[in-house]
Amino acid sequence: MKELSRSTKENGIRVLLILLFAFIALVALFPIISLIVASFSPSTDLMRFGLTPELFFSGFTVENFQSLFGGEAGAYWRWYGNSLLISAILIVLSLIFSSMVGYALAVYEFKGKRFIFILVLLILMIPFEILMLPLYTMMVNLRLVDSYFGVMLPLIVAPIAVFFFRQYCLGLPKELMESGRVDGCTEFGIFARIMAPLMLPSFAAMAILQGLSSWNNFLWPLIVLRSNDMFTLPVGLATLLTPYGNNYEVLFSGSVMAIIPIIVLFLFFQRFFIAGLTSGGVKG
């Protein structure tokens, strides 16, 4: 009898929790759902209401996507390609470099280690925005304005990723390094072949976060990029948001397309991410 009432109570809590989170999930997803609805609404509606189309279909249409894919999208696909290229390179480089630094700070004892870690924390505290004017001058002097390299250069070593990798690597089993040494591995070999596989969940997590930050990065590309053809996707889309660029067909369908690569990245890495956290292969 007591057993029964307890499970009834538990079911009640369960239902309440699920209802609560169903509501939260709805709030979280609502803006994205309404974007998708808007992208399938006639552009005359979007024009008439400006940026405030009625939420419910006054007519389903794919004409926004037709103009996006049918050559009326202006430089949209060029921006898309720019963003893809820049993000891909930045993910790879920043994962390699940041994990190396974080790993060294966690597993080795060496002179200056504490100093370097404090530097990492300091840079985390110094906002990029304070460095951006000198960096911009630097890019002008190096003739890197309006170039891919100019966009990427300041973002290759991400202090936040260094910090994350360091925290993660503190939990790595250091005995494996010794056995690697006994087996004649180089120090880099130990990192690449023994420890890095153990760090996969942290790589997955950082791939998501670094991918996000470079795909969605706005201020620096806005400053360093000049020509329409070199814009990254957020900078390009922002030009459509101005009162003069009422290209709503491309703005809404293009915004939907802008989320897709990052969702793919997320779904792809999320499995490793969650598996890594739950299997407990490496505990922090």
Partner: protein, 305 residues
């Protein structure tokens, strides 16, 4: 022990095997990028703040840039940014903690689905998210938000054109996007809480609040400190949430932020020295606030323990 000694002796000849050298090679990318892309620009930002930078000629002007910084427009920017920081820090540290604890609850179901749905907003860029928010919080009566408040008998609101609602839009946009990320951070921290501690607490007859205070919170406190620090710093760096609603000019500067001020003076008006001076003042603000915050959250005490 003997193993290490012989291994060390055998491989001393080759730098690839050097345990002493390896860490320096590993951290070298950071050192290079620090010197080139942080330290040098930092020093030139300080230098620049004392200069008047004109095309082809720069001259030192002493503290005059700093004297110009403290003007009513700057105070407006500081005020806007500070209000934004307070709201985002309070919302983005406490609510995700509650969500994460619920999601981590023994009786919770569909955890992966809910976790993913809360995280999905973080995948959008501010520009895309801002487009959506401008659509939902549009000026016309037909806009969704106005229809909703209409149901409760309120008049339609011109969201982007008064100070309070403009702040609401910027805070709402940031909180909507970052909620899920912070929930993930808390969830990761909760994974490390030992189940034994809860069992022990149960045996001692602890209630839910006591369990939270003495078991859960101590375990997630480092993440709490981390998130409140990061959210504060990110809040003072805010630019995009304002840009997406107002570009660079808002009525009565209701959307002006400190970084927005740097951008409009340093980049748009090309007054680099003045922009750099605003940046230095911003750094001072962030530094002081972060120190106070770390002190209040007890982050320094942990060092001694």
């Amino acid at each position: 022990m003997a193993n290490t000694a012989t291994a060390g002796k055998k491989k001393r000849s080759n730098i690839l095997y050097s345990k002493k050298l390896a860490p320096y090679i590993f951290v070298s990318p950071f050192i290079i990028s620090f010197l080139l892309l942080s330290l040098y620009p930092f020093l030139s930002a300080i230098n620049m703040s004392f200069q008047r930078v004109l095309p082809g000629q720069t001259s030192y002007v002493g503290f005059s840039n700093f004297e110009r910084v403290f003007n009513p427009v700057f105070y407006t920017a500081v005020q806007n940014t500070t209000i934004y920081v307070v709201w985002t820090v309070v919302i983005l540290t406490i609510i995700p903690m509650i969500f994460a604890i619920f999601l981590n609850h023994r009786l919770m179901m569909f955890t992966n689905f809910f976790r993913a749905s809360i995280f999905i907003p973080a995948l959008t860029s501010v520009i895309v998210a801002g487009t959506i928010f401008r659509m939902i919080f549009g000026e016309s009566d037909a806009a969704f938000a106005n229809q909703v408040i209409g149901l409760f008998g309120f008049e339609p609101v011109e969201w982007r054109y008064s100070a309070g609602t403009a702040m609401f839009l910027m805070v709402a946009l940031a909180c909507w996007r970052w909620m899920g990320v912070n929930v993930l951070y808390y969830l990761a921290a909760l994974q490390n809480v030992s189940k034994d501690l809860y069992e022990a607490a149960d045996i001692d007859g602890a209630n839910a609040w006591q369990k939270f205070r003495h078991v859960t919170f101590p375990a997630i406190k480092p993440i709490f400190i981390f998130l409140s620090t990061i959210t504060t710093i990110n809040g003072f760096r805010m630019f995009e949430e304002s840009f997406v609603f107002f570009e660079t000019t808002s009525p009565g500067n209701i959307g002006l932020t400190i970084v927005g001020y740097i951008y409009s003076e340093g980049i748009q008006r090309n007054d680099m020295g003045f922009g750099a001076a605003i940046g230095i003042v911003l750094l001072g603000i962030i530094f002081v606030v972060s120190l106070v915050q770390l002190y209040l959250t007890g982050a320094f005490k942990k060092e001694d323990a």
